[in-house]
Symmetry: C2
Subunit: 369 residues, 2 copies
């Protein structure tokens, strides 16, 4: 089975757009990357550039501020470098204790500039530089949300590594919240605000329906990434920490059956996302509205970006160097593979559906607040 | 050396007060605890009650709302139960992987009611009950801050457990931010808001000077707890994860010397706390002012409460059952043991001092935002 050949069409009735300055942003991000001195090996450098981190960033906020998108691109290059070097399990298992230690140090470097808690080395110096630049361009609230997003992300990564360490393939209901954390959706969501220079009022951002929309977007992106990166991780390389392995393991089913089930679950989450987002947008102020649009760009952009990013389209486990012409040949569809609108039978996320005003259970659920 | 006999006087020029309904709150909290069915063993139950969790809660917000303080007391009884049963290393080492797994599950139960991610058992059911009650009494923003506080706390606990697993006694500069997280100060700070029914505007709560005051309070409480609970943990029982062990290990010094150094560090943090809190309060609105007062109650209340709580005064490792008459015989002092006002030479927290407007470096530091 060739890279990407097995991929079903993705249900995504949102068009992805890209910031017009994407090419310039990419050049500047790579120039920054080179100046950091993180990469001493030419192949490592080539593979980091092959993440197309700037393109991903520029698809998150196609009308965002160029300087802030450059910052996001730099963060993403840095995070991909960290992911591949320190957090990812495909080459060697990383113990939870190591991940937790790195997490606390990284969070401290973010929350307390000058703390040097990652030591003195190019990776740490680059993070310190990112933090100084980010504080200069953000409000305290925007920055706090970024820090909380990072903590959420790192706990998710640690959890996946803890599962691998203990040989645990989590059941779907446990896997989903772990994946929502691990995909870093709240970190990216914080950058929707930063890049567009908006600040959603806290009482709106943390209201249940908006929390549900944010989580659903993260889950969809995580699911899509599980499918789009499956070849990259080697079949089973993720050691059970992706939705296909989870379904094959717990439902004792074939890869094809797991793919169909994963797509159905993901498409039902997409239907929920679209309906709930529309409901919230109807009464939203300008910043919340822009945030909700950004979540759509996050989902649509992730698919488009993965299609041509050599990180996924010509993965390193199968290619000596990135192939700039490789494609996953992603296709889209306008309707969900599973059209059902009732809540997924997954207790950890079933509450998303109770936020919908048009269902009977929704009214009761929302009234709790 | 008898329990508490070695304790130096605590520099704390803030008077501790207790909510007038403390006794009733304790009775109701214990009634709730009994109804949960968490404790089947009479000794375990007695030791949980011996935490005097309600007293601790009622000292955090002496003028708070009774219903909300009862809620806080219930949370604290539950957390102490969890701490002793699942998180604490004194009886058996807990691997970081286990702590991380528990953390992600607990956070999910907090963020998504009905998720049942801790299974079906009295401990999980009690948490679910707490979450429902808390959501009913809080605004979405108050609740979000509580959830972020829990995540911060659990990452700190996981980090300490990761250190023990790897045999690491962290140097002081690393230990301090870990202890600030692990003591759960942001969780308690969230309850200052809930108990007093206030909501500090986000742009004030996350401004650097207020973040620094919050962190400093957590550090002081963590330090004090390290001293007040040293007998409880057995000498060395904390396996290096308290400030006395950290100083003895890294400075190759005696217990007495470590105690003197720890007190000096802690007193300098207290001086900073008092000065910075006064500076912030001068221009604070009513909710922020009340929050700042609450941080003072947190510090002062922690010392008073520990003095008579059998959890510390007649610790379980030395007593079959809690002794209600036991006292640590804590004493106070009005001046710091080390009167210096310059920043501590600890890079992870030196930024606190740059928030002071009266020092030269402060102005430059504050201007960054």
């Amino acid at each position: 089975m060739g890279t990407g050949l097995f991929l079903p069409p993705f249900y995504c009735p949102i068009e992805s757009a890209i910031h017009p300055a994407a090419e310039r942003i990419e050049r500047e991000a790579v120039a920054w990357l080179d100046a950091t001195g993180i990469f001493t090996d030419a192949a490592d450098r080539a593979w980091n550039i092959a993440t197309h981190a700037a393109e991903f960033s520029c698809r998150l906020a196609p009308e965002g501020d160029e300087e802030r998108l450059l910052l996001f691109a730099m963060w993403n290059h840095w995070m991909f470098g960290l992911d591949d070097a320190r957090l990812d399990n495909s080459s060697r298992p990383v113990r939870a204790a190591e991940t937790v230690d790195l997490s606390l140090r990284m969070i401290r470097c973010i929350e307390a500039p000058g703390s040097t808690m990652l030591g003195a080395n190019p990776v740490a110096d680059a993070l310190a530089d990112l933090v100084v630049r980010t504080r200069a361009l953000t409000t305290p609230v925007q920055f706090q949300r970024l820090a909380e997003g990072a903590r959420d992300f790192l706990l998710g990564v640690a959890w996946q590594n803890a599962n691998i360490e203990r040989g645990v393939v989590p059941p779907l209901a446990d896997f989903v919240p772990g994946r929502i954390a691990d995909v870093g959706g709240r970190f990216d969501a914080a950058f929707i605000e930063i890049a567009n220079d908006i600040e959603v009022p806290a009482e709106q951002l943390y209201a249940d329906p908006v929390r549900a929309v944010t989580e659903a977007a993260g889950f969809i992106v995580g699911c899509d990434n599980d499918l789009l990166s499956y070849a990259k991780e080697d079949r089973g390389g993720g050691a059970g920490q992706n939705i296909l392995d989870v379904l094959m393991h717990h439902h004792r089913c074939s890869f094809a059956a797991a793919l169909e089930q994963a797509t159905a679950v993901r498409d039902r989450a997409m239907t929920l996302f679209l309906r709930l987002r529309e409901q919230v947008a109807r009464e939203a102020g300008p910043d919340l509205r822009r945030y909700l649009e950004g979540l759509g760009h996050f989902i649509a952009g992730n698919i488009q970006w993965s299609d041509t990013a050599p990180r996924y389209a010509s993965p390193r486990n199968r290619h000596l160097l990135p192939d700039p012409l490789a494609r996953l040949n992603v296709s889209l569809r306008d309707t969900p593979s599973d059209p059902r609108t009732e809540p997924l039978p997954i207790p950890t996320v079933a509450w998303w559906w109770t936020q919908l005003r048009t269902t009977a259970s929704a009214t009761a659920g929302s009234a709790a607040w």
